[in-house]
């Protein structure tokens, strides 16, 4: 069997095992509501941060407006499920949220993606703030008070499946024609353009893809927390997602998983510290950055396929040794 299929099966088995494990742990009471909450938050953060890592780590575009796209998904879900409080309504709202986020990403991206580095960051931050201000003033979104009593249409299993699905899509996107094009632009835009790659088109592709996954994260957040308000999608929320990406290692999806988990656990553990919580969090953040400037994992990725390849080579080598 080809290594690629073996690797895919391994990942599938791993995902299924994880699902089973959580199920069992909830059954025997090791995972209580408190920990389940933490796991769901970690899952949603993974969805948000892998999308942002695609934009920042792979296409090299510094976006600081991720919470804006998250808000679009969250509000699409809140509004649609208030009229259609069914699972079907939820999935429809996810699709609508994705579509809106993609359209808005195109509208924001076309003028701003020509900007470089920090200028782009500040422009995308501004765009996200504009989204927030609009949500804050519309009737249909219930203004600054936000929307509550959103039906609980997704529990941890939905979030788990969505984490797997979005990660699969983002990682596969990053390792394809599209991924090579966006990484070429990140490395050297002038050379990429001279090689026939349209920088605007591919930067936009990564940006739109990231926005779409952010909308999924927002939709899940809405039905899980059941309350949303414009204040949940401000600059500080975009920064929180950015922190996960940088802490894990810009360009490492494995790192994003790890950072989301570490921060999720840290946050839960620090709950009992009261007012000191954020002080410790801030110090931890500074310390990690000063002592591990490239993030927890740098650019490292876990790859079952590479591991199988290595094993294959070793086996072949030991086989040939035996033959001698």
């Amino acid at each position: 069997m080809a290594t690629k299929w073996k690797a895919a099966l391994c990942w599938l088995a791993l995902a299924a095992a994880g699902f089973g494990l959580i199920n069992v742990l909830i059954g025997v009471g090791v995972i209580d509501t408190f920990i389940e909450n933490m796991l769901v938050t970690i899952g949603i953060n993974i969805i948000l941060a892998t999308g942002l890592n695609l934009i920042i780590g792979f296409s090299g575009q510094f976006s600081l407006g991720h919470a804006g796209f998250m808000a679009l998904g969250a509000y699409a879900t809140a509004i649609i499920t208030s009229a259609m409080p069914t699972v079907g309504g939820f999935y429809l709202s996810v699709a609508v949220g994705i579509a809106i986020a993609m359209v808005v990403a195109v509208i924001i991206g076309i003028p701003t993606l020509r900007l470089r580095g920090d200028y782009l960051a500040i422009a995308t931050m501004g765009a996200a703030e504009i989204i927030r201000v609009i949500l804050n003033n519309l009737k249909i979104t219930n203004g600054a008070a936000g929307m509550f009593n959103i039906p609980a249409l997704a529990g941890w299993p939905t979030v788990y499946v969505m984490v797997c699905l979005t990660t699969l899509m983002i990682v596969n996107f990053a390792r394809s024609r599209a991924g090579r094009a966006i990484q070429a632009i990140r490395e050297d835009e002038i050379a990429a353009e001279a090689s026939g790659i349209d920088p605007t088109k591919w930067k936009l592709a990564a940006f739109v893809m990231g926005a779409a996954t952010a909308a999924i994260g927002g939709s899940l957040d809405a039905v899980y927390i059941q309350t949303i308000a414009p204040g949940n999608f401000g600059i500080m929320n975009s920064i929180a997602i950015l922190i996960i990406v940088v802490l894990g290692g810009v360009g490492s999806m494995t790192g994003t998983f790890m950072a989301a988990a570490v921060l999720g656990v840290l946050d839960t553990v620090l709950q009992s510290f009261g007012a000191l919580r954020m002080v410790i969090y801030a110090l931890a953040l500074i310390a990690i950055m000063v002592f591990k400037p490239s993030g927890l994992l740098g650019r490292y990725e876990v790859s079952i396929r590479a591991w199988l390849d290595r094993k294959g080579v070793n086996n072949a080598a030991s086989n040939s040794n035996r033959a001698e």
Binding site: K4, A8, L168, M169, N172, F173, S176, R177, A178, R180, A181, Q183, A184, E187, D188, I190, A191, A192, E193, A194, S195, G196, I197, D198, P199
Partner: protein, 260 residues
């Protein structure tokens, strides 16, 4: 009809005429060299022809499928797609990507991958990857890069980096390739290997080559025709023998500070 026709091309930067009323043409299959002292406007001319910089006036026409196509007001990626590839004076590789990825990135416009097939890894995706993998392997082999295919471009020795850059330009499937000082910084052995490689671009890949170079022995060995640029103007053009005897060229090189 020549492959590339440049008519009265000018570029002014403020008060400076970087390129002034340049007329030149390149016929299919030719190897043309562009020489001139430092600051003569050679790279600026390349940038004008490849869409990096917009000219102040003049016209640039490329023959595509027998029809003349103006290259003015086209972005560099559009010029590349039309069949004009280039390398850079200061090597510009995709540093953290492997050699294979460098080559494949330059093939982006030559194939399409369906989005759903890509993210869900459907058979159509593997078929496309196999096709592109085949093109890549052939090119890596032809440029003697198979052994370093999976190394990051930044970690290669200088001479190899130059070769990867040329291979990457060829990967765009051009008709015409511009090489900006490919022999700069090379030792004699590397230069000799490069000379053979440039000859193969024509014999094996059927490419038309335009070359900026300061290494006169390389130019005289390879070029069929030479344009000499000084202060943005073409001061002479002709065969290598004609250029070697041209009084204006000798003055330009020997009069205004020795070079070459």
């Amino acid at each position: 009809m020549p492959l590339l026709t440049v008519t009265a091309l000018s570029k002014r930067f403020g008060g400076l005429n970087a390129v002034e009323a340049v007329d030149m043409h390149v016929d299919e299959g030719e190897l043309v060299a562009l020489i001139g002292p430092n600051g003569a406007g050679k790279t600026t001319l390349f940038n004008l022809l490849t869409g990096v910089t917009a000219p102040t006036s003049g016209s640039v026409t490329l023959t595509v499928d027998g029809k003349p196509v103006s290259l003015l007001n086209r972005a560099p990626y559009q010029v590349a797609k039309l069949g004009l590839a280039r390398t850079f004076q200061n090597i510009r590789l995709f540093a953290r990507l492997t050699v294979r990825e460098n080559i494949q990135a330059a093939m982006t416009h030559r194939y399409h991958e369906n989005f759903l097939a890509t993210v869900l890894r459907l058979p159509a995706y593997y078929k496309k990857e196999a096709l592109v993998g085949g093109w890549t392997d052939a090119l890596l082999e032809a440029f003697d890069l198979t052994a370093v295919a999976d190394l990051a471009a930044a970690n290669l020795p200088y001479g190899t980096q130059r070769r990867v850059e040329i291979a990457r330009a060829v990967a765009t499937q051009p008709k015409l390739i511009f090489l900006d000082e490919p022999a700069a910084g090379m030792n004699p052995e590397e230069t000799a290997a490069l000379t053979a490689l440039i000859q193969r671009l024509r014999s094996e890949f059927h490419l038309t080559v335009v070359l900026i170079e300061h290494d006169m022995s390389l130019v005289m060995k390879l070029a069929e025709r030479i344009y000499v640029l000084e202060h943005g103007k073409v001061i002479a053009h002709g065969t290598p023998t004609e250029i070697q005897q041209n009084q204006a060229v000798i003055t330009a090189y020997l009069g205004g500070g020795v070079h070459a």
